[in-house]
Symmetry: C2
Subunit: 270 residues, 2 copies
Amino acid sequence: MNCNTPTDIVFSFEGFRHRAGLTDSHSDGFGIAFFEGKGVRIFRDNKPGHISPIADCVKQYHIKSLNVISHIRKATQGDVNLENTHPFIREIWGENWVFAHNGNLTELPDMSESFCQPIGSTDSETAFCYMAEQLKNRFRKKPNEEQIFQAVQDISNKLAEHGTFNFILSNGEWMIARCSTNLHYLTRKAPFGKAQRVDDDGVIDFNEYAKEGDKVTIITTVPLTKDEVWSKMENGGFVFFKNGEKVWEIIGTPRTEMIDDGTLGTAKVA
Amino acid sequence: MNCNTPTDIVFSFEGFRHRAGLTDSHSDGFGIAFFEGKGVRIFRDNKPGHISPIADCVKQYHIKSLNVISHIRKATQGDVNLENTHPFIREIWGENWVFAHNGNLTELPDMSESFCQPIGSTDSETAFCYMAEQLKNRFRKKPNEEQIFQAVQDISNKLAEHGTFNFILSNGEWMIARCSTNLHYLTRKAPFGKAQRVDDDGVIDFNEYAKEGDKVTIITTVPLTKDEVWSKMENGGFVFFKNGEKVWEIIGTPRTEMIDDGTLGTAKVA
């Protein structure tokens, strides 16, 4: 979720976590990161998201945030444990960067003597470390947003040569989505309507929660609601979101294969 | 807390969090990090530890861990917000390193173009970043524990030339404590006895929770219990703990001043 007003994620999160064992099989751990200024609250559990007590705690406190990344894992590489649980976090240019991946990369650079090294054994964290190392080597200080967006494209397209690389990345100010096989987004703004969740038929009327001017973008592997129009991204596509809206989009090329081996998503108020 | 068996921190944590506004004035945020293998669960709040709903959540789940670092903040440098809340975390040599500081450093190296940069505006996080950068520059791969202990001493003694530098540092395998002005520790092992908390008179009989062979070391600014013998560290002293016991100790020199401007501690079962 990327938005222009602090937003409570519970409506989407409740549908999303059903996919961690109930409506889908992504039950190898869950994580959620809420940005709060330059800080980030991150909750992770190696238990399935739909029964995790940590997920219950998240639900209970209705934390509001401008940028949230959540992930439910279906392990492809690496054991089911805390260090292999997304989202991953690293400091880049004095900011928290949060990353969640859906896919599988079969070949990766050796990071064993690099400045930024993976802690767990997933392809995802190694890819993120490579991205962090490359970005820091290119720019000693934070460049502008267009330079960041371009550099992230260059680096991740190289990584994507060796597998499926859908991801969401945020520094708390913007959110970048990259699609290989499966990623959808929508922006909610006035006039607001109702929505019904795909996973458990839960209904919400956003008019009760949102005000004129609010903009909330949700990015997810598979749409979370059945009565809203989701934009489907293409293979090789990138979108840069800020303040709840799409700023730049690289369309990519239509996909030639469908692989569903991980679920990645962000969520939203009410 | 550093121990040889997964240990529940609640007994100590309940006394410790009283100091975040009730028995002491460290109410500018709290944080607690639990290692779990190479992973770490970290909970932080900019609300005072004694009323934080996040602290309530921590209490509720009785997470057991071999290494726990908790901190209640009394701000000296930097606003009261999430990014300035201890403990801080960075990846070093493919491990999570967690750091909490009690004190105030008035002069620090410029880290604005370094590979590891502070996210918030505290002296503490800048000092930790400097330590991380120096360690990574000295060793591209993880050296042995004696080399780590020696390097941490060299780097932190240089930083301590410019202020008060009590800290606790852990990679999930060992814990290093450094004292400038105020740091105490004790090791609980068989035969176990009873203990009464300083802050609220809560009582525990460790015989009901511990078994033969268990070793649990607690390190804290000010002793948490009134009927156990705590070792007081000296100015410039370092201790390296592993599996619940002291492995190496640098005695340091007796302190010449007492400054109490922050509280740092680790906690323990039951």
